[in-house]
Symmetry: C2
């Protein structure tokens, strides 16, 4: 049971966490803060948070657990604002999609309080944003990755883990660098592929006909291209090196594929497609 | 009402068309042929076809309407086998994803009977194959594109159009070259992107962790990578020029994107992602 939970950034992720913990009776009071006043008011009206605070520090004061759920670009500033009000026994965690950059920002901002910061990343979401899109079951059977540093307090990790388990998630831990390398491939690269495809198609002269003559494949492939551009710009900047490695590899692979199409190399194409299908079929068994 | 319908290739598309016409009472008898004996037997047992024919010509003999629903690579050979049995009043159509190549093959194979061939393409399907995956509502509210040539008989086009309308689809017509250019962008390019992504990920040393740490985004993006590799190899070979144009463009766009990530050009990234999101949001209104 969390006596007071502070959520900085009451959007899809922050709002869904609040709803999940409230629905399960795992929290007594939820204080929220965010930059969008309309969204914050909606969060109060929807009962997602009990009250709105005027600043991150105001929200965090007296809270047992502070959850940072803002786009990565805003994390450093908020961590700096939180530092003066952190007290013994308070735990801070985040939900950012890149962990190395957040760890560095937290280390710089929190100083002696850094061991009570638990870097975290729930692998859940949707292309929608804002508290209106939040749901209590967003994390149900989803994975949350925590990336504690050597000095991170074990008790703090345990409390963050318990919070996510209470929200319905399965929690695993790994080093931040490993997280960032894996997520670059499993999440960040697919997102860029979808954005780039949608942007290319809409720049075509006959893009209306292209969209009219599309099927479920294009629809499902580009669903995530509706995601928040600010959040994804921040992820690209924060995970530059790991993302660049997989993006350059994919770019090179596509070049080879284009060469095979140009040469009419049916054997190469069939081999590649067969390997991809086999991988997707076994991946599919997970769902 | 079609008295006798012949379906060459009783898979997902051919089987679903048979089921849709049967369910609506638009056909008296359905004869099927296909190379996979097990699939053909299943089609009889499921009641999708009334009887199995031993050859394409045998299936077509006495049929009012012959539907060719095989991968593109098999079309020329079957059209040549059909030519001798085509009689006045019989209509032949196909469901291939590339039209220029099929039109050329039909023109060569059918000779004087070419005007009774109506090139067609239902924009419907799934990543599954075979008659077991067929459903009577696969074409419900989906588009079918017909690409008649100047010499195609208007009456033949009308009958094929009526058949697809009876199956629940909306029918439009356009020149074959336009179809192939548009579908290269709306369907063939997305398919190659999905195959290439899946193939790249599974070749990574830590691909198990990548798949374990993936979410709905990767799942939905790569769904179509489970599609039939032979069908897609044939599409790549048959629509080489149009496909290559969009594939090279996308490859170049991705290279620019990688450069922007490398330079940390947040403004460029935000502009591109915002344009893509806006396009996807308006595209989304279609669904």
């Amino acid at each position: 049971m969390i006596n007071r939970l502070a959520i900085i950034g009451v959007g899809l992720i922050g709002g869904s966490l609040a709803r999940a913990l409230r629905a399960g009776g795992h929290v007594r009071e939820i204080v929220g803060h965010g930059r969008g006043l309309g969204n914050l008011q909606a969060a109060v009206e929807l009962g997602v948070i009990d009250r709105a605070a005027t600043s991150p520090a105001d929200a965090a004061r007296g809270a047992e657990m502070v959850v940072l759920a803002v786009p990565l670009g805003g994390a450093a500033e908020i961590l700096a604002a939180l530092a003066p009000v952190l007290e013994a026994g308070m735990v801070v965690t985040d939900v950012g999609s890149v962990k190395g950059a957040v760890v560095a920002a937290a280390r710089a901002a929190l100083g002696a309080r850094f061991p009570s910061f638990v870097p975290g990343h729930p692998i859940a979401g949707s292309e929608q944003s804002g508290v209106g899109a939040s749901t209590p079951d967003l994390f149900s059977r989803k994975r949350v990755i925590l990336t504690p540093e050597p000095e991170t307090e074990a008790a703090a990790v345990a409390r963050v883990r318990a919070m996510w388990v209470a929200a319905g998630a399965e929690v695993l831990t790994m080093p931040a660098a490993e997280h960032d390398r894996i997520l670059a491939a499993s999440s960040h690269l697919p997102q860029l592929i979808a954005y780039a495809l949608m942007d290319m198609l809409v720049r075509m002269d006959d893009h209306r006909a292209v969209f009219d003559c599309s099927g479920d494949g294009l629809r499902d492939m580009t669903r995530i291209a509706a995601s928040d551009p600010v959040m994804w710009r921040d992820i690209c900047l924060a995970n530059r090196d790991a993302l660049l490695a997989v993006l350059r590899q994919y770019h090179s692979d596509l070049g080879e594929l284009a060469d095979a199409v140009e040469k009419g190399d049916g054997e190469w194409l069939l081999d590649t497609f067969t390997r991809a299908k086999r991988a997707r079929d076994s991946f599919n068994k997970k769902f």
